[in-house]
């Protein structure tokens, strides 16, 4: 579907509301208060649809100070975040360019979220590993301050080693799943030889112990997948440093489309794609290529300021103005 309207009409708001109702959180902000209309006490989003052929209904409400509450098919969920396990949604917004041109931390965060969607049984690994590194760093500082000894450090070194190895393996698997689809999507959008390169550094107990004194001096764990990066390339060219703004945008879009395909294949149903302001930056051939690349059995909601940016059937056009939506 295509949502059209002038700047400030509320198109991004619409996308955000759909994301909120299907995922339990906003792709833009963690602050619930920002999601409530100015001057009102709360917010409510309800969506209805079908999933694998059965009806699917979500209602999410926000009251500042009370957080979010979600109901799935009438039954209250423990937390609104549980929704994300029900129906995956992938987002493209112009600020997602940071995935390519931003810091390694931005890429790690992005690929770890992809990992959680592609390998749900290991979705807790990135958070658990980060917690282990946090504990080990605290232990290192306590050793440096003579509040503790290296013996008390051992269990944290063991946890970092164990969870770190598992995280590297999971990332390698997730990237091996994504990479071929990424190359296909990138090529179709005119970005040749798209490649994702990941070489994780497994923090073995031996390797961590070999650099123990340095880690104690600096108070941080200087080895492990919390320092990894993922190379996003076209041929041998690293798009992070040598990609044009346009190529970086195509790379992010290719990543989203690649993951959509992988999810569709692994979960037997395509994800919901929310593509904000993607068309304006693409020429006509690429816009047409994009439509061909959307997952066949998923649903896509795009926004554009120009109604003629894409040829869509009448029922598929949403006209947004002054915060109201009507079918065009």
């Amino acid at each position: 579907m295509l949502a059209v309207g002038p700047n400030g009409a509320g198109k991004t708001n619409l996308l955000e509301a759909v994301h909120l109702a299907t995922q339990g959180f906003s792709p833009r902000t963690r602050a619930d208060a920002e999601l409530v209309r100015f001057g009102t006490a709360g917010a409510r989003v309800a969506v209805q649809g079908t999933r694998h052929g059965t009806p699917f209904e979500v209602e999410l409400t926000i009251r500042p100070g009370e957080g979010k509450r979600a109901k799935l098919n009438g039954a209250a969920l423990r937390t609104a975040e549980q929704l994300r396990a029900e129906l995956p949604a992938l987002v493209f917004t112009p600020d997602r360019l940071v995935v390519v041109k931003g810091s390694p931390a931005a890429r790690r965060a992005y690929f770890d979220r992809a990992l959680a969607r592609l390998l749900p049984s290991r979705s807790s690994l990135p958070v658990e590993y980060a917690a282990a590194v946090g504990q080990r760093n605290a232990a290192l500082r306590r050793v440096a301050a003579r509040l503790s000894d290296s013996e008390a450090l051992a269990p944290w070194t063991a946890q970092v080693a164990e969870l770190g190895a598992a995280l590297v393996t999971a990332r390698e698997e997730a990237i091996a799943i994504l990479a071929p689809a990424f190359a296909v999507k990138a090529a179709a959008l005119g970005l040749p030889e798209g490649r994702l390169d990941y070489t994780g550094k497994v923090p073995t107990v031996e390797a961590l112990e070999a650099r123990l004194q340095r880690d104690i001096d600096r108070g941080i764990t200087g080895l492990g997948p919390h320092l990894d990066d993922v190379g996003i390339r076209s041929g041998d060219r690293d798009l992070r440093s040598y990609g044009s703004q346009g190529e970086q945008r195509l790379a992010v879009l290719s990543l989203v489309l690649a993951e959509a395909d992988c999810l569709a294949e692994r979960r037997g149903g395509g994800p919901l794609l929310l593509l904000d302001d993607v068309l304006s930056e693409l020429d006509r051939t690429r816009r047409e290529a994009l439509v061909q690349l959307l997952p066949a059995n998923g649903q896509t909601l795009m926004t554009s300021t120009a109604a003629d940016a894409l040829a869509v059937e009448p029922g598929q056009l949403l006209v947004v103005s002054h915060g109201r939506v009507r079918v065009g």
């Binding site: 100070g65 396990a85 049984s121 917690a131 282990a132 008390a152 269990p155 969870l163």
Partner: protein, 196 residues
Amino acid sequence: MISPSVDNLVAQLTRLPGVGTRTAHRLAFHLLQRSTPEANALADAIREVKERVRFCQVCGNLTEQEVCGICQDPRRDRSVICVVEQPVDVVSVERTAEYRGLYHVLGGSLSPLDGIEPGDLRIGELFQRVQDGGVTEVVLATNPNMTGEATANYIADKLRGRTRVTRLASGLPVGGDLEYADEVTLGRALLGRREM
């Protein structure tokens, strides 16, 4: 500000784990609406546990004596020690009515971020019990989270070669539907599957 004594009560309640200001206010107003004897019964109960209840000298469980009922019970198997984080975990394991050994309550889990070191838990006391002899198995029943695993790791390392050390298996909640199990729990249960 309603009255200094209400403020004080709210402040005291807020210090309890899991109680925010909102809940503290609700509880305070609830107590104010109760009759005086009813409200005093709560105050007396708090005073009484503080006067009478202490930690068992052997296992660290809660007791009104020097040594708790479980440690004193001659029918318990003294060769097995189940290590848990909190006294409430003893209650959980006891409810199974499957376990006939003794316990050791650590008083928490290792967490350098919160300044909790081996010396802040009753780990030395556990090693001493094993040292004293007669223990053939130590069952590590710390929580299945990151700090619980690290604590189990630490203890297992230290006891290696001195006695048999086992860890609780992780699995699925019985009686529930597979449909409602989260992916992480189900994934771990799958890894720990057994031959039939």
